[in-house]
């Protein structure tokens, strides 16, 4: 409780008949970088806007440092936001934009100027202070928006898909700027995005939302390795999802009869499965091996190659088993050194049962 800065307590948000957020319970910890991620329309932006006071929850409560925000108007909250459209004031120059929040708080002109210029320096755009915001490049305007939100030294910063309008190479650079800032300042970032790479690259914890509900909360690695359900597994991608009936139990493992054959998967301690139950499990694309001879133990599926995709030293192979089940395998190029993909008659995909992860639910 002590490290929770913001608490969403049974929050529901409806727009007419449309339920944007369904009974959400969420704690945002002090000083963490939290990403809210999900497809468009999943309620992530609405959640952020409720935190900023731009929407009021239909039910439930949101607290900041234990105090309810329901009666606090947007301009009385200290929850600055970086907007997807940036929403810079076009009739003000760069410095005046940054000063805006200080001016509204009654900070004297000289002090305002000094602090605004400090922040512009810190973000590397000090030389543009007197420019019109429309004369700046996308990346520079991004920094102005950041400086404008941070100049009041808030304890929490809200970011609504701030990088979605930038070119790919600028996105990577801004990700670096954001993570460094967040570590240095030690303040809480709540970051809304639909991009998995942004969320996983920067966040301490990721909240995956679907249809107004939280599908999973966890560190990027945990979500990647152990998706809680099918939605998360599919949304995160790079996973092979297999389904079938549990044929038998062997020690810690369940053997599942999938169309691609009987495959073993380790059952976690807190999970119970019964013979005959329908289950799904995932095997991450980067946890499989590929060989020309059948491996001695573990799961093995004979496959044929459909296509391959090179990204740097990583190769993604798209494979197919005899029954038509598609598999993805992500391998280092050197792992493939002794396999002649073009000529090989037989290929085997294999992985130990412990690499598989059973999804929740019985489908």
């Amino acid at each position: 409780m002590s490290d929770a800065l913001v608490v969403f307590d049974d929050v529901v948000k409806r727009f007419g008949d449309f339920v944007a957020v369904k009974r959400m319970n969420l704690e945002v910890r002090r000083g963490e970088f939290l990403a809210l991620m999900g497809p468009s329309g999943c309620g992530k932006t609405t959640t952020l806007r409720m935190l900023a006071g731009l929407e009021l929850p239909t039910e439930g409560d949101i607290t900041l440092e234990g105090k309810s925000l329901l009666q606090v108007k947007p301009h009385e909250r200290d929850t600055p936001m970086v907007w997807q459209s940036l929403a810079l004031f076009p009739f003000l120059d760069v410095r005046e934009n940054v000063e805006f929040g200080l001016k509204m708080r009654g900070v004297a002109a000289e002090e305002r100027r000094r602090r605004a210029e400090d922040w512009l320096e810190r973000l590397g755009i000090g030389e543009f202070a007197a420019r019109n915001v429309q004369q700046l490049s996308g990346g520079q305007r991004q920094r102005v928006a950041l400086a404008r939100a941070l100049v009041t030294e808030p304890q929490i910063l809200l970011l609504d898909e701030p990088l979605s309008a930038l070119d790919a190479h600028l996105v990577i650079r801004m990700q670096g700027v954001l993570t460094r800032l967040q570590r240095e300042l030690g303040i809480t970032f709540v970051y809304v995005t639909h991009s998995q790479s942004e969320a996983f690259a920067m966040a301490d914890r990721v909240v995956i939302m679907s249809d107004g509900e939280i599908a999973q909360i966890g560190a990027p690695r945990d979500i990647y390795r152990a998706p809680a359900n099918r939605f998360v597994a599919e949304f995160v991608g790079r996973n092979n999802i297999l389904s079938g009936k549990v044929a038998r139990l062997e020690g810690d493992d369940a053997v599942v009869a999938t169309p691609a054959g009987d495959l073993g998967v380790t059952v976690a301690e807190d999970r119970k499965v019964a013979v005959g139950e329908n289950v799904s499990f995932v095997i991450a694309a980067d946890l499989v091996r590929l060989s020309q001879a059948p491996p001695g133990d573990g799961n093995a599926v004979p496959v044929s190659l459909i296509s391959e995709e090179f990204i740097g030293s990583v190769v993604t192979l798209f494979l197919e088993s005899a029954d038509g089940t598609e598999f993805k395998a992500q391998l280092q190029e050197r792992e493939l050194a002794d396999i002649d993909l073009k000529q090989a008659k037989e290929l085997y995909l294999s992985w130990p049962a412990a690499s598989g992860h059973l999804l929740a639910g019985s489908t």
Binding site: A20, R49, L54, E55, P74
Partner: protein
């Protein structure tokens, strides 16, 4: 759905009662237009049932003014003249404006089009009265046009106090607006449809009438409706350039109001004008949209 709500900023749609801030911006127009726009129009309708006794208006509910005005031949002469002239003006202006709008929409660069529209807006906000008086001097029997025609041995032609003079006046009022409205609607016609028509061997003139006009129909009709409303309600041209014999309905309103305090009878004329305009406007617009849906 969520997007619409985002757009609204603080969700104030439905449910919530508007606060003081919202009302501050919402109410001034409502107050002003009810007090000084709807109020006068409603009062005018009531006034058409009042009586005038000894040059003073007495509040009453009698049909005397209606019977008196609608029972007179000269009212219907005026009515038909006004209707006829406004219709003629609409046809003439629409026909004369179309080639110009077509040229502006398809045959000039966007920059030229923007400047042309700029120059067409200017007269719309300049004194129509002075422009009409200027025509009076130009069209007079010893005026500029007849002087020029005289050099080549023509004329003089009588142009003032004729229907021609009235139409020139109406054109002064309506032509710029109609060209603007037509140009805007033509400029929105999808060019690929025109090219498709040409590809299919449709000639230039045929393309104009079978492809472009139907596609731009709503805009063309709205231009014509505005032309009709403005011509129908104008008293300056028929009075100064048309000679006012017989008077059009707007002149009838002025004569009836300014002489003898017969405001209630003027109200009858005004109401008849409103009914006519509403009928014409709604019929035309209904027609424009119905055909388009087909």
């Amino acid at each position: 759905m969520a997007d619409a709500a985002h757009g609204a900023g603080l969700a104030k749609k439905g449910g919530g009662r508007p606060d003081g801030y919202a009302l501050f911006f919402r109410l001034p127009m409502v107050f002003w237009q009810l007090a000084f726009f709807i109020g006068p129009l409603v009062f005018m309708i009531a006034m058409s049932f009042f009586l005038v006794k000894n040059y003073r208006m007495v509040e009453a509910f009698e049909f005397a003014n209606w019977a008196k005005m609608l029972g007179r031949g000269y009212f219907w002469d005026s009515f038909l003249l006004t209707l006829g002239m406004a219709t003629l003006s609409t046809l003439v202006v629409t026909a004369l404006a179309f080639p110009a709008s077509y040229a502006l929409a398809f045959k000039v660069s966007p920059t030229v089009r923007r400047w042309a529209i700029f120059f067409l807006i200017v007269p719309f906000f300049t004194s129509y009265l002075v422009r009409t008086f200027s025509w009076y001097v130009i069209l007079a029997e010893s005026g500029v046009i007849n002087a020029i025609l005289g050099f080549i041995g023509l004329g003089p032609y009588i142009m003032l106090n004729t229907k021609f003079g009235t139409i020139v006046g109406y054109m002064t009022l309506t032509l710029p607006l109609v060209v603007i409205l037509q140009t805007l609607s033509l400029a929105h016609v999808d060019r690929s449809l025109i090219e498709a028509a040409h590809n299919l061997g449709c000639g230039r003139l045929r393309t104009v009438f079978t492809v472009i006009v139907p596609l731009a129909k709503v805009g063309l009709i709205i231009g014509a409706v505005f032309c009709f409303i403005l011509s129908f309600g104008d008293f300056v041209s028929p009075y100064y350039l048309g000679g006012s014999k017989p008077p059009t309905l707007p002149i009838l309103i002025i004569d009836t109001t300014k002489s003898g305090q017969q405001w209630p009878r003027a109200a009858v004329v005004a109401i008849m004008m409103m009914i006519t305009l509403l009928t014409v406007a709604f019929t035309a617009i209904a027609l424009a949209y119905r055909r388009r849906v087909k």
